[in-house]
């Protein structure tokens, strides 16, 4: 009988730690709050940036990353254009799956009506567009219709998303006309924003034939768009300048719009790091709060410690009890914070119509950080409780 040891089952350790928290629920919640804020901030920051990246990835998946755009180098004159043969030349490249083009009609502006002073310029470019442009750049029509072979021969215009907003036009039933290059053009359609060709958003697009016949367009493209076989993108990219303009390949700029989209998503990386650091500071402050709560708890509960020692608790049992309490307290905050951060991510993602993405490693990291913070915060108070002589603990009441 005397050889029997003093033993506290692991399950009972958790139970004892939990009952310590339950005895003072308000204090537990308040001191867990600091941890919750820190974890919530970190989870939300990572979740939101993951959701944003997921959104871009999904967009790129849908739009494809094999679109290349050829335009005159920006460093040259603004009215620069590509050779008329450029479209045919590009189409002859093996790896090119489809080619389309748009050409700015020089000196042509578009207005809501014919009473606006033509000297008052706006940012809207009038471009002749080939009928296959829509498919090549994965653009979609918000309302009305896109140009086809028939419409392209008539004074009909399709507005980019920004253009439509700028002109205040949403009707596409054929009743609305705009004053374009000194002629009335009927609005046949409005495009959705085009992520791979944002320059189209601020354009007014008319048929290639009507541009030539009515507005004196010379038929030289400003931008050539081509879809390239996956895997040949880099190769084609290298060939394009000389193909488009063999005489002056250096005046040709090739770009891959999907790269720009991906880069856009990566630019907020520094902000993410900063916010993560702030979350870390909040977590640290939360940890100090937990440590403070635990120090007070140990002081207040001297007689409880004495009683437990009298009931047979070893120093290790007392230490484990308070350490467990501290870790549970932090875990309470961590769990609440993860829920809060997840909810914030979901709310933000849905407000932007992004997909919801929360990497598992964040949750695992939050759990790990919580346990470490709880253990660190509880280590000193727990050691102090364990060191209290049982007589002092009992006589303190």
């Amino acid at each position: 009988m005397t050889a029997a040891r003093s033993r506290l089952r692991p399950r009972d350790t958790v139970r004892v730690a939990f009952s310590g928290l339950r005895a003072r629920p308000l204090r537990a919640v308040l001191s867990a709050l600091g941890i919750a804020v820190g974890i919530a901030a970190m989870v939300a920051v990572v979740g939101i940036s993951a959701s944003s990246r997921e959104q871009v990835n999904q967009q790129l998946d849908a739009l494809g990353t094999n679109l290349l755009t050829v335009a005159p180098s920006q460093s040259f004159v603004s009215e620069a254009e590509l050779p008329r043969e450029a479209i045919d030349m590009v189409g002859r490249l093996d790896a090119v799956e489809s080619v389309s083009a748009a050409g700015i009609v020089p000196g042509t502006a578009v207005y809501r009506n014919d009473e606006i002073d033509p000297n008052q310029t706006n940012a809207i470019a009038v471009s002749a567009a080939r009928t296959d442009l829509l498919d090549t750049v994965s653009a979609t029509v918000a309302s009305g219709r896109w140009l086809d072979d028939v419409l392209s021969a008539f004074p009909v215009v399709v507005l980019g998303a920004d253009t439509a907003e700028l002109l205040g036009i949403s009707r596409t039933d054929g009743d609305v006309q705009v004053w374009l290059g000194g002629e009335w053009f009927t609005v046949a359609g409005v495009l959705d924003p085009v992520p791979l060709a944002p320059e189209l958003d601020t354009s007014a697009l008319i048929g290639w034939p009507v541009a030539e016949s009515l507005l004196g367009f010379d038929g030289a493209p400003t931008t050539v768009y081509q879809r390239v076989a996956e895997g040949s993108v880099d190769e084609v990219r290298a060939l394009l300048p000389a193909t488009v303009d063999p005489a002056a390949p250096e005046e040709v700029a090739v770009s891959r719009p999907s790269d720009a989209l991906a880069a856009q998503a990566a630019t907020d990386e520094t902000l993410t790091t900063l916010l993560l650091a702030l979350g870390g500071v909040a977590l640290l402050v939360g940890g100090i709060g937990v440590a403070n709560t635990m120090v007070i708890a140990v002081l207040e509960r001297r007689s409880e410690v004495g009683l437990r020692r009298a009931l047979g608790a070893t120093r290790a049992h007392i230490r484990r009890q308070f350490l467990g309490e501290s870790v549970l307290l932090a875990a309470l905050g961590g769990g609440g914070g993860a829920l809060l951060g997840g909810a914030a991510t979901a709310a933000f993602a849905s407000s932007r119509e992004w997909p919801f993405a929360l990497p598992v490693w964040v949750l695992a990291g939050a759990a790990g950080a919580t346990i470490v913070v709880g253990a660190l915060a509880g280590a000193y108070p727990a050691a102090r409780a364990a060191r209290m002589p049982p007589t002092a603990a009992l006589s303190s009441v």
Binding site: M1, T2, A4, R5, S6, R7, L8, R9, R11, D12, R15, V16, S19, R22, A23, S303, E304, G306, L307, R308, R309, A310, L311, G312, A313, T314, R315, A316, H317, P389, P390, T391, L394, S395, V397
Partner: protein
């Protein structure tokens, strides 16, 4: 004194305990004491006589500076802190003046906590706690929380908690000190009943009235045992 044949539960031989100070306090100054199984003993003395110091040493919560302390047949001086904890868990049942019950916890679980550090499962702890509460006459108060009980009931719960592990002896520190006389009498009656059932009980008190009701009275003064009397006619 009396010769007992059984191995004593408590045996102190020339125990000294002094507290540092100028001059140092000799709280225990050569105490020798033997308690046999089944005894009901009062250790009585005025305030400052060294009762609490003796209680701490009997309960292995504190160590003697000199002398020999044998509890339940084991020489306490040779045991580690961990071994002393085990001794308390299995062999000693404490009853305190202030009860030390958890207020928000049921009587049943307060008593079950008496077995917490013996490694018994919760289900078994509760089963034994219910049986022990029945023994102290509180079978109908199992679900009551500590703060829903009267002082006398609380002390009976505390006695049940001390008893639930079937210790070698109960160590009661002023068990009636915080109670009105009726409740105090009921608790004393309970201790008598336990004694009649064979439990060894040591009661520490400053109250001569309480001590007078117990069969053996050990008087302590200034850290020394003044007298050790067996009451004629007591069991």
């Amino acid at each position: 004194m009396t010769v007992t044949t059984a191995e004593p539960v408590i045996r102190l031989r020339d125990v000294h305990r002094r507290y540092p100070g100028r001059p140092p306090v000799r709280a225990l100054d050569g105490v020798s004491l033997s308690v046999a199984p089944g005894e009901l003993v009062a250790i009585v003395g005025p305030s400052g006589s060294g009762k609490s110091t003796l209680l701490n040493i009997l309960g292995t919560l504190d160590r003697a500076d000199a002398g020999e302390v044998c509890i339940d047949g084991r020489d306490v001086g040779t045991l580690s802190d961990k071994q002393l904890s085990a001794l308390r868990a299995h062999s000693i049942g404490f009853v305190f003046q202030q009860f030390f019950l958890s207020p928000g916890v049921s009587a049943l679980d307060n008593v079950a906590d008496g077995l917490l550090y013996t490694g018994v499962s919760l289900r078994e702890r509760r089963r034994r706690a219910a049986r022990t509460l029945d023994r102290v006459g509180l079978a109908d108060r199992l679900r009551h929380r500590g703060n829903e009980l009267s002082g006398g009931q609380r002390q009976r719960v505390a006695v049940a908690r001390a008893l639930v592990g079937r210790p070698s002896f109960l160590l009661a520190d002023e068990p009636t000190g915080a109670l009105d006389s009726a409740s105090g009498a009921a608790v004393l009656k309970l201790l008598h009943e336990l004694h009649d059932g064979g439990t060894t009980v040591v009661v520490i008190t400053h109250d001569h009235g309480v001590a007078a009701e117990l069969p053996r009275q050990v008087h302590i003064l200034d850290g020394r045992i003044e007298s050790d009397e067996y009451l004629a006619g007591a069991s």
